[in-house]
Each structure stands twice: as structure tokens, then as C-alpha cells.
């Protein structure tokens, strides 16, 4: 069936079986491969996307559920060729190593920062507890989110 939703700010229509995983529709049909699959059962968070502003594991979402919704993937975070501040912070502060979990982390972190621009360490850890990383031990990820610049600071760079 034809499923319409907003993807990274643009209206999108895709022909898919309703129960197809959103993850597969994004990766295989729409060729947005920044969203990763690490486990396929909602444990690792590598497939995190924002659906109407909430961080969700796209491997657990049938595509029919996003009809009419706003879906944002990692590809939609950077604007006008400029990294989202949390993406820049991951680059600057060692938040990414092998990188396979990174899209999920930056999407989840972007959601956190949208509702709490200055989270403390425990708040960051709670917000990212649904995302698994095996490389960093999380400290540099926590640091990256904590040191993400606000819009004003970003403009002053």
C-alpha cells in the first residue's frame, strides 16, 4: 500500500507492505542507510529515529504506523551543509569510534537536547540508556552531549 509521511522535512510517499519494518523501508526502499541495524529487536538503538519528535527504534515500528507522522533520521539532522551541534560535538570530543552506533546516539541526543538544552550527566545517561555502544565506554559520548554548544555559542564559532 502507499504510505505517506514527512521524512526529514519533505513529504514522502512509499509503496510498501504495511507491516514492513520502518527500518527496512528507510534503508532499502528510500536508501537512507544512516539508520543502522544492530539487533533487530529494539535492544541496541542503532536504528533510532525521531517520530513526531520522539526517539524510537525503527526496527520495531511497522511502516504503516508512521502514516502522516514526521519522521526524522540522522540524515536530516545537518542543515545547509552544517552539522547539527550535537553531531559537531561528537566529532570534536571523541563521541564516535567505529561509528555504527553513532547515528542512533546523535538522534537520541538531539531529542534530549531539544527538550533539555543543558542536561546533567545522569540525565544524559538516562536518555541514552537505550543505545548500546561497545567502543567508547560511553564517557566520551556523555562528554560530547554535555559539551554540545547552544545555538548562540554555535553561531560564535
Amino acid at each position: 500500500m502507499k504510505i505517506q509521511f514527512e521524512l526529514n522535512g519533505a513529504p514522502t510517499a512509499v509503496e510498501a507492505t504495511p507491516m514492513a519494518r520502518l527500518l527496512d523501508v528507510l534503508r532499502e526502499d528510500l536508501r537512507l542507510t544512516g539508520t543502522k541495524e544492530g539487533c533487530g529487536e529494539g535492544e541496541c538503538g542503532a536504528c533510532t529515529v525521531l517520530i513526531d519528535g520522539r526517539a524510537i527504534n525503527s526496527c520495531l515500528v511497522p511502516v504503516v504506523q508512521v502514516r502522516g507522522a514526521k519522521v526524522q533520521t540522522v540524515e536530516g539532522l545537518a542543515r545547509d551543509g552544517r552539522l547539527h551541534p550535537v553531531q559537531q560535538a561528537f566529532v570534536d570530543h571523541g563521541g564516535a569510534q567505529c561509528g555504527i552506533c553513532t547515528p542512533g546516539f546523535v538522534v537520541a541526543a538531539a531529542e534530549l537536547l531539544a527538550r533539555d538544552p543543558q542536561p546533567d550527566a545522569i540525565t544524559i545517561r538516562e536518555a541514552l540508556a537505550g543505545n548500546l555502544c561497545r567502543c567508547t565506554g560511553y564517557q566520551k559520548i556523555i562528554d560530547s552531549v554535555a559539551r554540545t554548544l547552544s545555538g548562540d555559542e554555535e553561531a560564535a564559532r
Binding site: R27, E28, L32, T33, G34, T35, K36, E37, G38, C39, G40, E41, E43, C44, A46, T73, V74, E75, L77, A78, L83, Q87, Q88, F90, V91, D92, H93, G94, G95, A96, Q97, C98, G99, I100, C101, T102, P103, V106, D120, A121, I122, I124, R125, E126, L128, A129, G130, N131, L132, C133, R134, C135, T136, G137, Y138, Q139, K140, I141, I142, A146
Partner: protein, 761 residues
Amino acid sequence: MAGAGTTPDDPYIGRGFVRADGPAKVTGAALYVDDVRPRGCLYGATVRSPVARGRLKGLRRDPDFDWTDVVIATAADVPGENVIALMTDDQPVLAHDELRHVTEPVALVAAPTRDRALAAARHVEVLYEALEPLFDPLKAADNPIRIFGDDNIFSRLEMVHGDGLDGMAQAEAAGARLVRGSYAVGLQEQLYIEPQGMIAQPREDGGLTIFGSMQCPYYIVKALKRVLGHDRLNVVQAVTGGGFGGKEEYPSMVAAHAAVLALKTGRPIKLIYRRDEDLQATTKRHPAFMTYTTAVDPASGRILAADVDLLFDGGAYNTLSPVVLSRAILHALGPYAVPHARLNARMVATHTPPNGAFRGFGAPQVMFAAERHLDRVARAMGFDPVALRRTNLYRDGDVTPSGQRLFDVASLEVLDRALAAAEAPLPPSMVATRPGGGQAAGRRKAGRGLAIAWHGCGFTGNGEAALAGEADVSIDGHHVLIHTASTDIGQGTDSIFPAIVADVLGVDVQRVHNAPHDTADVPDSGPTVASRTAMVVGRVVEQAAHSLLDALRAEAQWPGAEDADFDTLLERRPSDAPLRVRARYEDAGAEWDPETYRGDAYPTYGWSCVVVDVEVDTDTGEVLYRRLVQATDVGKALNPVLAAGQLEGGALQGLGYATSEAVVLDDRGAMRNNRLTNYIIPTALDAPPMETILVEYPFAGGPFGAKGIGEIPHDVPAPAVAAAIEDATGAVLDRLPMTPEAVLDALEARETPAETPGAAR
């Protein structure tokens, strides 16, 4: 953060320069193997043995399944030899006679979609005659059920140091006390977040291109030459989502399977493991059973002699197990000087999935035992655990069990600096627990534990000299390319090598790049393993950069060229001819006898001290991590941000090994908890705040003094946790993992104390 530009006064090395692949990874643009879909590609899937041991009788296709677009391949379709060439030729590409472990690959299918391929694989039944399996490693040697050779022993090592057991007898006669303890560790999964995956693509010349997730492109070349029966192949690394040893040797299997299907179908084949399949089928860290007896001087606490017995379970095939055992025996006494020792080690075969490379490679197993044993000595003889370590730690001029004399030993400094940092309060910005704790607070006991590691960097003995790894540097217009087989698996090689070359040439690092790790182009720099890449290959790359300058100066026909800088030489080149230079690893050759295990076991050693603060929930047995401090000798931090990040990731993998990562096998030897729901790696909430102190005792053989750091952080978090649990509760745990159930058992056993708990401070 590092700005652009470099001069001799403002080098990249030593600064937190930004990693080259950072932007691609944070935007999702980086292409991992599953992100690539070659035109016309088919999807592969693997049919696996349902039993631990059996005689293969054939395959049965479900007659009710639609097979029209499915291709099946078996051992008969392997064009060359049916063997995964590594150390010995015992492991087949596809089983053809005897099944030796559950999940062993038996057949392959290819289909137009991934779902079709997976469904087809499920509808192929493996027919077999069941045979009695052998699971218990303690009963494997000389068991009438034969798996490997005459005795089921993959390898056996013995070392005698000083007067060996005579030294033990002499010490005992002179009044030393004997302390004996047994220690055991279980399986651990590497758990790279990206599962194994490979694409095999037919080439026009009848050969193949292999593209995928891997650490060691030339391992795959070596293996596939024999599988294919020719060498018309090239292997290209995709961006790789973690390895930790799990993508050292196993990718040769995945590549061989993709290759067999690609040759049979003539189409590109994409073979990506599901997580549950990856967990059940691929290699893990070896379980080990370890017994230590030491003679200890009751007055000084000096360890005078040691007798160590190590038994490792290799699983059904040899893989790299003999090398794992080698590293285990060489690290078995931990970072402590012992004048007399005998060490015995055996690697046995069982009908379980083969174990293989995993960060630390035998060292985390034995250093758990060594550190726990020191705590046992402290407990039994009334020593303070830290003071006991201080007494026995290696110092400059001490001699290891292989007879290697040590210099520039950082053992005491890492101990002092970790202790000092742990004494300071945790910065409020790092606190990771909410105040309060309610009812749980009363039943939680706080404790601190400490452990110390040494780790040999690079290959054992004269391995590096024998391999003679190579690296090329070339000019590409205004840019410089580095050609090596040393892959970036997250540790930052694609950023570190360019920074080394940029500093040698005095150019902006933006102009220096690692060329794609494609064996059609890069020389064999050796595998990306053994804490060797930055230290060993980094040095070769550094030499290649110097050779490039030399080559430019040699072709310059103008006065003053010998002192000119790189850009001037480049501008005034007499032609645009390609320029590519090669450097090869060279050393005088270590003094090393592989028969007796005497000599210089490693080019140098790293040193590390880990201090862990825990709270133990005495009702549930849960261990909560509150803080981890490590001080680690890295030689020279080429990039402090990347170095600390690698050390912290390794330490958390070590904490998972300590308490949560239990692999449970069913009665066929198959991993029962083969999902991320029940194989538990730490989350951001489980992980403690981590402070990392980089200690720099430079190694003259490494670039800018760097040592290998990839493995050492995994070596001793687990014994530090065990010591912390003991400090908190008095419970003694000598086996890994220390699950809540195991902690509760130890808490219960504590009620009848036979020994006095020792404080670990």
C-alpha cells in the same frame, strides 16, 4: 581542539586532532557493508549443524517450499580446497563428513531477497547420525572421543624460570608459605554492534572482489586463495562497526561462503549475519581453568616461587588458539617479579563452537587469576593488598619468566597515579547517580578494588621481524596517500597514520589520507591485532614518510634541495611522474627461542592500574559501578582523545566481563541467550564515570614513542571488581562472570568465614 596547520613547534601528534572519519560517521554517510547493494546482488544465508557431533548424511529440501529462485551450495561446490587456512587446516568451509559443533556451516543458500534466503535456509534439513559429543574441557585431554590429533590438545606449552619447582621447594624449606588457589573464567562475546557481513562480487577476469567488515584483509586473501584455487581476488575493507578480535579470523569464513555462492550463481552475493546467528556461530573468548600455587615470604610478602597450570577450551577447531595460549602463559604471573616459576598450559578441543581472538587474547583470563591470587595471598597471610602489590611489582632491571630484562617499567607510577586520582572526589559534573536510593540504600555496601596489568605490545618474540610488515606512501597531486592493510575498526587508524605523516612532512593533515584498504593496492602490513597497529605499523608509516622526503630530495637537481621542505620539493618536482615509496618493518631481531620460550617475549610492555568503586546490593547480588579510574602507560599518546576513548571502551568491556556477560550454553553447546535481550552488555546507566590518566614512558621502537594500547584496558577491570566486592562485603569470588547469583552465593558462603577478608585499599 586542534586547529589546522602544523610546524615542528605545533605538531598534530600529542593533540586531540579530530578524527578523519568523524563527519561521515555522525551524519550516517559512512558506508558499512550492509549499506552497499551491488546491482543484481543476491542474498546469502547459512544452513548450520543442529547437533554438536554427528556424521553428515545429507540435506533434505522441504518439498512444500518454493525453491524456484533459490540456489543451494554445499561442500561439493567449493572450487579449491575445503579448508579455512589459518594455523592448521582442520576447519572446513562447509562440513562434508563429520559435524563437530552446533551451528557449524553445512550448506549455503542464495535468493533474490534477504527474507527469501533466510526462509530457504530454514527449509533445508541437515540429515545426520548423532554421535556422542565431548563438552567438558577438563576431560578432553586423551579422551577416547577424538576431536583433534591423538589427544585433543591443540597446543601445549611449558616454561621453567629460575630453578622452577626446585625454587619452590627451596623457598618452602626456608620458611615460605605456600598459597594455592583455583580460578575460572567463562566465554565472552566480542559484541561488535555491527554483525559480521561480506559481499563477494565476481570480476571480469573470473576472479572475485571481497568487500566487508573485517580487521585483517590479508587473512582473507590467504584463506580464499586456497578456497578458490587461484589468486585472482582482492579484498576491500568496508567501514567496520567494531571488531575487538571478533573480526580477526572469522571474516575469512563469511568471505569464503559469499565467494562460493558468487561463483556458483555468477552474481554478487551479500551475506550479512543476523544478531542471533552471529552470537551462536562466531568465535568467543576462551574459557579457562587456572590453578596457582605460590611460595610467599611471610615477613616481606615477596613471592619467591610460583607453579601455574592453565587449561583453555579452544572449542571444535584450532583457529588461533595456540597463539592465545602463548600470550596467556607469557602474561600468567601478572606484572610481578617472581624468581622461580614453572608454568604449564594446555589448549584442549571440545565439541563447542570454536573460540578465537578477543581483545587481550588470553591475557584477561590469566590476569584475573593472577590478581585474584594476590588478593588470596593478602587475605591468607594478612598483607594489605596494595602494599603486597607494591612489594612484588616489576621494577627496572627485573627479569620476566621468559628471561627478558625489563626497562622503563611504569608499574609503580601507574599505581601511584591511579590511587591519587581515586582519592580525589569525583567531579560533581561526572556524578552519574541520583541522590537518595530509598530502601535500597541500606542494603548496599560500598567498596573499592584495585588491580594492575602489564601487556606485551605487538607480536610475540620475533613475530614482527618474521612478518616484516610493509607500508607505502605516495603523492597524489597536492595530497599524500598512505597505503597499508591496517584497518580502522573504530580505534582511529585512518586518523592516526595521517597525523604521523603530516608531522613528518610538516603539512596540513587534511592533505594526508589513508588509501582504501584494498589488497589490490596496499601491501601486507600484517593484521590489525595484538596492540600492534599504531606502534608497529605506525613506525613503518613514519619511516615511509621519511623515505618520501628522501626520494623527493634525490630527484631534485637544484642546490639546497637537501634542506628544502616538503612543499617546496613538491612544487619544484622535475616531473609529474607517480612517486610511491615503501618501508618495511626492521629490527635487529628479538632474542627469542620459540621452542623453549626463552628470550624477549615482546618488543615492549604497557602498564596499567585500574581502581573501581562499586556498591553491592546484598539482597539481590547486583554490583553497581560508581567510578572507574585508570592510569595507563601508553608510551606516547598520539591523540589523547582517541587514546582515552579506546582505554575507556576497553575498561567497560572488562566490567561487562566481570559481572554481566554470561554465555549460557544449551545441551548441544549452543548459546542459549543469543540475543541482546539476554546477553547483557553495559549501557550508559550501567557504566561508571571514567577518569583516564595517560602515563607516557616512551618506547623507542614506536612512532614518537607510542606503545600499543588496544588490549591492556580489558585486562584487569574484572579482578578490580572482584576486589571491590570483597572490600564491600567480604565475599570472595574467584570465577567470572560474577553474576548476581554468583555474588549471592559468595555472600552466603561468607557466613562461615575460613579466611579473614582483606581490605582492598
